[in-house]
Structures are given as C-alpha cells and as structure tokens.
Symmetry: C2
Subunit: 425 residues, 2 copies
C-alpha cells in the first residue's frame, strides 16, 4: 500500500502553535491525502465538499474523521445501513458539536459496519488490503492508519475501538463510560455504547482527548518502579494466536526490563461471569434500541443484524436483569482487583487482522472491559509473522484514564523494538 506515514496530532498542534502551520493549510493537507488515498482504502463513507475551517480553538486546523454512527447536520449520516442512505439529521451528535466548538474541521464521515454491529463496511486494512481493518469503527481506524487524518472518533459496544485500532496499528482509546458524550449517536446497546478516539500514538490520542473534552488527560512521566503491571490471565488467553501469545509475553518482559513491577493476575470468577453477561445485555438492549428499525426496515437490514435484534427481543427482562446483576458484581470485583494492580495487559484481539473482508474479527478480549466501564487503550508496536500489527491492550480502573494513558505512553516505545518470533508461521 505504499507509504502510510501517519499524521501526528501532537506535531501538528505544535507546528500550528509555533506559527509554522496555518489551520487552512493543515486541513488542505488532510483533504489532499484523502483524495489520493481513500479510493483504495475506502475509509470514508462521505467526504465533506468544502468544510469550514476555524482559525481559533484548541482543535483549529485539525481534520477529524467521524464514524458515521454519529449524526451530523451538514453531512449525510447513514449508520452503515442502506435503510438510512442519504439520511440527513437536523443537528449534530453531541461529540460532533463539541469537536466543532473546539475548532475541529469534520472532513468526512468514516465508514462503520451496519449499525456498528458486524456486517462489514467496504474499508480495507491500510497494511494489507486483503485483510479486514476491524470493526465497527473501521473507517476511523483506517483513516488514521493511512495518514489521512490525525484524529478520528468512533464507538465501542463490544470491541469496536480497541480491535480496529489493533488491526490498523494505531492508538485507540476507549475512555471510562460517559467521559465523552454519546447523545446523537445511533445507539445499539445504550448501557455499553462508549465514545472512543483514534490517533497515531498514545500521546496523540491523549492530546486529542484533552483538546476535545477539556479534561486533564495529558500524559505525564511515570516512575516504572511504582507501577504494578499485571499480565491478565483470562480463560480466553489460550485461544489467542501463537504470535499474539508471544507478543503479550514479550510485552510483559519488556515492561519488566524497563523497571515496571510486572506480575500475573488470574481472572476473578466474577469477571468471567460478567464477560458472559455482556452478550445478554448487548442483545437485549439491541432488541429494544434497534426494534424500531426492524419494524420499519426489515427488508433493508442484513440477516445477521435481523438475527441479533430478534434474539435480543426473545431475551426476557428477567434474564436481562440477572445479567445486569452479574455486571454489577463484576464491577465490584474489578474495583477490588485494581487495588492490587494498576494496569492490566491483555491482547487487543485474538491476533492480527484476519484475511478477508467478510468478518471484522472477534471482540472476545474487549467486551468485558466495555461492560466494566473503565478505560482501555490499544498499544501498537508488535507485528505478526505476516508483518501485520499486533495490538496489546492496557486497562485501568474506572476514572483512572490519565494514569492509564501515561503508563501506556511509557510502554509504547518498548513494544516497538526489534522482535523475535519463536513460533512458526
């Protein structure tokens, strides 16, 4: 795919603030990159014709790609579905309005799977067009990876931020639940739907969160000796690809070599149970939230989407309420666990991006953390035997977003060093 040099948000903001890059030029650079690269990548479902450029504001001159699951008043919003082809909302989603108020330019809407579930978009992986970019925030991850925008916005209900970030080799940040506003997105499972961000590196994505939200989330130096890092031993770990298992071991080793206090953490039983509860909660809520679409547009929904909506509608409220109780117990268990460890490391996905565009991969390493509601970030650097990115996910306690981003920024360069593959192919 030729050069995919990513745009660094931090470098762009620094150049702008030093008077070396004007917002107009910065947006023009992104728009030019989109015009050259997107015909092959297909990260955008819609490119704005002549988007306004703010001269002031913390995000002035920053080209942002917005997952087409969020409403935008000036660009069509189709939620990845033919049922909404050409749909034009009256107003922006809250996060889009917020980005504009901070000076960002919304250069286009990025491709999403249908209703942010599994039916894939046309987007390809910038590292290899035969492979999926992941989903559901396919276009947002690919647009950053291909160097078309320095920042993009997505959502995660199962693993839709962390997984595409991993597959595309970018930093993906799923904040603590409700840190960023979800109003005006097309909801799939409202108690899980979490707004997340993409950028080239961890410090870039943290900067994006700072400039967008006004929160103090900028990465700060950490003392490795004071950070307890836990390699998270969940039952799913054995099902990860061999090169992912190697990458996770290497991640733990490199962190230990750098002075972090590294150990292993066995998954508490309450978290194993909570992971099982995720699908019940997601499907039941989707049965309600997407029920109106099934009632109106059945002939324009994919069979897989129809199946999950109907499955969700068949889940009784009693079963749903019991799953919510398991989720609550899981959150209490996570709080206890994070008394013993600061940061967990876990695969971002079972392996590198699968070959083929029919599937966007598997969220089994993500959905527990979406349910628990704490922050997670994809750290890139490791490569599969085929040379595709292998993402390692760092996870922290609810509300400890800044600490997580700071530690992840310290780990990121450690994961990019030379790598030995101990397992065949």
């Amino acid at each position: 795919m030729g050069e995919n040099r990513m745009m660094s948000l931090g470098a762009l903001v620094a150049a702008r603030d030093a008077g070396k890059a004007a917002p107009d030029l910065m947006i023009a650079l992104s728009r030019d990159a989109i015009a050259r690269k997107d015909p092959a990548i297909k990260a955008f479902s819609h490119v704005a014709a002549d988007p306004p450029v703010a001269s002031n504001g913390p995000l002035a001159g920053i080209a942002v790609g917005v997952k087409d699951i969020f409403d935008s008043f000036d660009q069509p919003t189709s939620y990845g579905s033919p049922a909404y082809a050409g749909h034009q909302p009256a107003v922006d989603a809250a996060i889009v309005d917020l980005a504009r108020r901070q000076g960002a330019t919304i250069v286009g809407k990025t491709a999403t799977t249908e209703f942010a579930f599994f039916h894939p978009a046309e987007t390809v992986n910038p590292h290899n067009p035969d492979h999926t970019p992941g989903g559901s925030s396919s276009g947002s991850a690919a647009a950053v990876a291909a160097g078309m925008v320095p920042a993009a916005i997505g959502t995660q209900t199962g693993g839709s931020v962390i997984r595409p970030a991993a597959f595309c080799g970018v930093a993906g940040y799923k904040p603590s639940f409700r840190l960023l506003p979800a109003a005006g997105m097309k909801h799939f499972a409202p108690s899980l739907d979490t707004v997340g961000l993409f950028a080239a590196t961890v410090s870039d994505v943290a900067l994006f969160a700072v400039l967008l939200s006004g929160r103090n989330l900028a990465v700060e130096p950490v003392d490795p000796a004071k950070i307890r890092v836990g390699l998270y031993r969940c039952a799913e770990l054995g099902s990860a690809d061999p090169d992912m298992q190697d990458a996770l071991s290497a991640a733990a080793d490199r962190a230990a070599d750098a002075g972090f206090d590294v150990g292993e953490i066995e998954e508490p039983a309450a978290l194993t149970e909570a992971r099982e509860a995720h699908s019940i909660i997601q499907d039941h809520e989707a049965g309600l939230a997407c029920g109106p679409d099934l009632s109106r547009f059945r002939d324009r929904l994919s069979p897989r989407l129809i199946e999950v909506i109907e499955r969700g509608q068949a889940i009784s409220p009693q079963v749903y309420d019991e799953a919510r109780r398991l989720a609550k117990r899981g959150r209490a268990a996570a709080k206890l666990m994070f008394g013993e460890v600061d940061i967990l490391l876990s695969p971002s996905a079972p392996g590198a991006a699968p070959n083929g565009l029919e599937t966007t991969g598997d969220p089994r390493f993500n959905k527990l953390w979406t349910l628990i509601g704490g922050p997670a970030v994809n750290i890139t650097g490791f490569k599969s035997g085929q040379g595709l990115p292998l993402g390692i996910q760092a996870i922290a306690r609810f509300g400890r977003d800044r600490h997580l981003l700071s530690v992840a920024a310290a780990l990121e360069p450690l994961f990019s060093g030379p790598q030995q593959h101990q397992t065949p192919g």
Copy 2:
C-alpha cells in the same frame, strides 16, 4: 372542567379479556374523549388521524399517549420546540416501538415543555385550567387525568413524571433507571433521563408496566406489619406548603393506623450532597446533549433554555466529575438507608399545582431520587385547601419496583379518605 372521570387500564383490559369490549371500540372511546375534551385541556400536541388498532397483544385496544419527546415514525415529533416544528423522524423511539409491538395504539403525542425542560406547553390542569399541570410530561399527566387515555408515557430528568402526576392527581411511576428503554428520546441529560408511566391508579400504572415491559411488576398483597415505612425528613421538608406538610403527616398517620411499621428517617448527609450534585450533572450534560441545538437553532430556543445550555457548557469536566462522585456516594448511602427502611414517603412536590401557566412547578423533592436511580411513584388522594390534588411520593431501593408498587397500591386507598385541614388556606 366538568367530569374528569379517569379511564382505568385494569378495567379496560378485564373487559377486553372477558370479550365485553373490542379493541376497535376501546380506541374509538379514547379518540372521542380526546375530540371532546382536548380543545380545552390541550394535552395533545398532535392527534393521530387514523391510527392502526391491533386485534391481539397485551395492550391491544389500549390508547396510549406518548410524550412528544419520543420519536414516532408516523406522527410529527417536535420536542416541544418551534425549532422542530413538523419534524418527522424515520423510526420510532424504542419505547414507542415496544408499545406498538405489545398491541398498543398510539393515539397521539402529548405536549411537553421545550426539550422537557421548563418552558411550558399550552396544557392546562384538568382540575382547574388556571393552574399548571406540571411539567415536563404535562400532556401525558393531563391526558390521563382528564379521562382521555388510560395510559401515557413520559420522562423524568428532574421531577417530570412525579410532579405532573401529583398536580394532575394521577398515578405516576418513575421506574428504576433503565427499566424502560430511552433510545430515541430527545436526551437532555442522558445519565438522568428516565422513561416513566402514567395511569389512573397505582395498580393501573403497574399493570401498564407489566403489559409494556413483560416484567413481573403486578401489585401483590402486602403484610403491613412487615413493611417499614419511613417519613423522609430532608431539609426541604420545611419549605413545603403547610397543607402538603399536613398531608404528609396524615399519610404517615394513616399508614401507621393501617398497621404499617412507620417511623421517621433523617436524610443522610451524603444524600443532601447528592441532591446538590443533580443540577451540576444535569446542566453539564445538557450543555453537551443540547449544544448542537444551540449551535444550530439559537434563534428558536427560549431564553431559559439557552441559559441552561450555556451554563452547562461553562461547567468544567472536573466539576462534573466531582458531582458524579457525589452521586455515587449518594447511591451507596441510599443502599445503606434502604437496609433500615423499605419505603420512604416524601412530598411529590412542594404543594398543589401553582396558579398560572408560566411555571410548571419545582422539582426539589424529585431530583435526588432521579439521580439515585431507584423507583418512585406518585400516590394521589389528598387535596389542598383549594381542592387540588396533593401528591405523596413513595420511594424504594433500586430494583425493588414491584415491592414499591405493591406497597403504594396498599397505601393509595388510605390516602383518599376524608381529610381535615388544620392550617388556614
């Protein structure tokens, strides 16, 4: 206002199930009542021209009024705002689709204050047209009170179910947070926005919740001696009108006379602090969720709405996050408190419906319980010196909805007996 005999959902369902009333006829009765009464009451912002009537389903033949804060694909949805006059959503809100799937007929959209905040609708109080019906679910409460529909749907972010129910003299039920789905409503403060229900009596509103949600919420007999009822002594209590203070005392006395285990509960400090946090959380979230409307439609929003959105946008995320921590502590304190008491009694509002239509009343007795997220129900029966309804609110622990409804149904007839006014006018 002549006769305002309410329609009983329980009686209608029983007649239908006994073959004594056909769904077509039941809907025709409601539509006739709307045609006769609504020109004076103005409970409906839109009346459906020829709504379909289902012959089967648990809500077949039940005419439901839906607050015009919820999307409906076949009726315009204006959120109480000239900015959305004639707005036609593509699909229903989740709760509207659910009601239809259970067989309900959506006979019209009921009037709401602007964006479910404070700028009033045109609706009048069916008990006295010079008085407010309360808000923001003004039309839903008034439509039930005036005998136009047996059931209506609303929302509460501050006190928008319990207060209009109290002012209009109907049963209003604010379920535990997320018991009913909110997707497809116009959000104001998503972490507080709660879908609620209206009907003539507590057992009717419980039946509506059963038939709508499929949950086991039907009222069951209770043994008063086993129910600990707490008269809730919050600081606001002294600011209630004298006849409301009398009504609350009478409510406690009558419950004790009927054998309930009645005592007084002092407000824990953590709940006083949580009440203060409500406005910060609400306003900050409104600044985000309604920011897009301010950006696009400033000239079509009321000054009061513009003020709250701008105030919310000026609240820093740090202040918001601290308010969320206070809310969390409040929920933990409420859980402890509900170890000592089963049901709290508190005013539903500071008094009866105020004179005038410029204000919809004050949510100071409601907003804490919206924030805590447990169930609350308005119990009618008491009257003010002017003969207007005075509502008593019963509150229970999160998830104990059925228990609350059962106890409230047992209390309701006790509150309807003859009443002596000890304080002048």
